[in-house]
């Protein structure tokens, strides 16, 4: 294949990856729909369970596991790890529970499999994008490519952690996120494949950007957990968590909070490395100043400070739950602004290509 063939292949692969992400999204919608209980005739909206009660109010369709996960924990302010040996993420109804559970399980598996296929296509698109320029290079030399790589980081992070932390409930938002981001990248940011500008001729491009992509992926998935935490917490406060509904099948609130913390704790040292070690070393080589208050640097620093405050608040001031989730979302907002805002709002950054 010639260079141009690779570049064309990459464009097609992104298109197909988007389509498969969309199919995965639909499968997860079906999974969610299959899990919704059918209200018993004559009982009206019996399926709304008051978050304060543990009883399932006699609804025969309510799976026992789902009802149990609604039981209020003593207080998530105290200690998220309980002595009980069961995993902290009671997510999927037991398949043995009958046809509802089987259908949920089936659609969930289809969703994850499709996501895995989409991630492979996504990876193929990245690889061929790198092969599609002469000389061959890493596929993150401009905003279009960085967006693709960052989105890949998010979905790969979701798949890799998915087994360990049973993250299938995240399939719906992650695939939705991928569809939107890939669409925006193709519509707004696309540039034809080509060689790098001389400023990027450095192996630090590999190190610096790769670290930024991995950290962005971790922060994105972490923020998703935080956002879902806030939504579920609000619904629970108002007693609107519907049994078998999407919010109900999320992990319980301490579980979401803990997952968010773990992802941020994983991403933070990597972000520190990307923004405060690899970036400055490269800046010292390329621009003669390891820190020059370039807008991109300033906002990377702001992001770092906000996430540092998140970890600090959680570790010492004991801020869990709502307050921590809000800080995490603020941190992600600064991260997104750094990527989008600096390039399109301000201009004049030395990072104009990224």
């Amino acid at each position: 294949m010639t260079t141009a063939d690779f570049a064309a292949f990459s464009n097609n692969a992104i298109m197909f990856a988007s389509i498969v992400y969309a199919l995965a999204f639909l499968a997860h919608v079906a999974e969610w729909a299959a899990g919704r209980p059918v209200p018993a005739a004559g009982h009206g909206r019996q399926d709304v369970v008051d978050a304060g009660t543990t009883a399932s109010r006699g609804n025969a369709e309510v799976p026992a596991a789902a009802a149990a996960s609604l039981a209020p924990r003593p207080s998530h302010e105290t200690r998220p790890v309980s002595a009980d040996p069961s995993p902290p993420y009671p997510t999927h109804p037991d398949p043995a529970e009958g046809s509802t559970g089987e259908r949920v399980e089936k659609w969930g598996r289809i969703g994850v499999s499709l996501t895995a296929l989409a991630v492979l296509l996504h990876l193929a698109a990245l690889v061929t994008r790198g092969l599609g320029s002469d000389p061959v290079r890493v596929p993150w030399g401009n905003m279009y490519e960085f967006t693709l790589a960052g989105a890949f980081g998010v979905s790969a992070m979701y798949l890799l952690l998915g087994r360990r932390y049973s993250l299938r409930w995240m399939g719906l938002p992650v695939t939705g996120f991928e569809i939107v981001v890939l669409m925006l990248a193709v519509l707004l940011l696309y540039v034809p494949a080509g060689p790098l500008v001389p400023a990027l001729h450095s192996y630090w491009l590999v190190i610096h950007v790769l670290a930024a992509v991995v950290a962005t992926g971790a922060f994105a998935v972490g923020s998703l957990a935080s956002a879902l935490y806030l939504v579920k917490e609000r619904a629970a406060r108002r007693g609107r968590v519907r049994t078998g509904g999407y919010l109900d099948r999320l992990p319980d609130l301490p579980g979401l909070d803990l997952l968010s913390y773990r992802l941020h704790a994983f991403g933070f040292p990597i972000w520190t490395f990307a923004a405060l070690v690899a970036g400055p070393i490269w800046a010292e080589y390329a621009w003669g100043r390891y820190w020059n208050w370039d807008p991109k640097e300033v906002w990377a620093f702001i992001t770092w400070v906000v996430y540092a405050a998140y970890l600090h608040a959680r570790a010492t001031a004991g801020w869990r739950g709502r307050a921590a989730a809000i800080i995490a979302l603020v941190g992600f907002a600064t991260l997104l602004f750094n990527f989008v805002g600096i390039n399109f709002v301000f201009g004049g950054s030395m990072h104009s290509y990224a």
């Binding site: 060689p195 001389p198 040292p269 405060l276 208050w293 300033v298």
Partner: protein, 548 residues
Amino acid sequence: VTTTDQAASPTSGAGGAAPNPGPPTGPPALGPVELARWGWRQLTSMRTALVLLFLLALAAVPGSVVPQQNIDAIAVSDWKAQHPGLTPVYEALGLFSVYSSVWFSAVYILLMVSLVGCVVPRLRVYWRGMRARPPTTPHRLSRLPAYRTFEVELSPDAALARGVAVLRRRRYRVDRLEDSVAAERGYLREAGNLLFHLSVIVVLVAFAAGQLFGYKGGVITVVGQGFSNSLSQYDDFAPGSLFGPDDLAPVNLTIEDFDVSFLTSGPQLGQPEDFRARVRYSEAPGEPERTYDLAVNHPLNLDGVSVYLVGHGYAPVVTVRDGNGDVAYRGPVVFLPQDSSFASFGVVKVPDAVPEQLGFEGLFLPTYGFTMERGPFSQFPDALDPVLSLVPYRGDLGLDSGSGQSVYQLEKDELDTFASKDEALGADARIKLSPGETVELPDGAGSIRFDRVQRWVKLQVSDSPGKGIALAGVVLGILGLMGSLFVRPRRAWVRVRPADGGRRTVVELAGLDRSSGGDLGAEIDELERGLRAGAADEDAEREEQDRT
């Protein structure tokens, strides 16, 4: 320091949201010592540190919105010209140099003080904790967050010895008591935490030193010419506040050659592929000369100074003769690129011309193109068909007025154009020159010859002392950070009670997580497996199979 410091402070309510009851009924006035103590406690409390962190993030924002003097001085003057009303306000607030302003410095100095005040007492606590024995076994283990009880086929002593061995293997510090074992692990978490905070201070100090004692200068040098590191040579220069001109390393260098290649095909047609300059340099007068290939991402690093290639452009060489036919100017003229096609703008000033001074203003187009709609333009950034398109002026260049003048602009107040020969092309005469061509100016005012194309490079010369220390600080900080995030401090206890006349033993096992995010259940599972293993090998194996 913890938040309880604030609660312990008798006056902490006064600073909070509590309604102020007014001076007569208020709390008794604080003496200066108490006030200082109270202030210190407030400053070094966790909450203050958090607030200061957020303030630091917030304070950094304006510097990314408003152009900064020491980064882009031209953008600052442009901004000031566009916003004459706001300029004095912004200047008073220090918004054009945010990162050296009083308020920004105040935030980070307070943060540093808060850090020190936080870290020093914790060092003491940590030192004591390091040497202390694990806390003794609680009376009722069943109340702890993780608790197991089971029987093993061992004597109580043997069971306890096994407990010690298992805990030691999992790197607990173990204290054997009468009928129980107390153990603790994860001391490195706090060590990492302290290391992280200390390295933040190291980085801040190293960074401040770099800012204060360092400098950054830019100079445009025509290929073939030289540069010696002294203040007068710089086009722009941004020194740190404690920098002295004597700190400049006495480097001399000459640009011998410059190569640039542009993409001639593909979608990124015209994008530079690579550019590099060959320089000859000596570290000090009298030192031997060496050569070096200067390129982007490939700077010349010498003792106390680094030289970077940051840009390039064209400097057409022209010869201007005056009305008498004498050479009034000969040499390269730096033209500044306007866009990626390297259409470059520049002026030629000829103050020595007689009878009248001459000036030229216009474009250098490396690959000439012309359409009626666009006028002259550059088709490609490389010098394939270079053309100078100039408007000549005569009169007074205004160089004697005393006030400085930019070499890239003509002061046209006292200058006149020449009348055009062809009115259809505009009222003012315009000259188009290719290399080797000469054009006579009207009225016998002189002539201009475009000798050849030369290039210039923009060098950045800078020094930021302390960068090695800053780097070491950040790396240590990350190590500390990982320790403080991923080391799990835990306590565990094992208590034994004889059963069945001493042949069997009831083991109680309990654990406590001292950080969030740990998976205590899994850890206690492991300990339980260790305690059971060997007691009855078959049991353990069956156990193993059950689990997997």
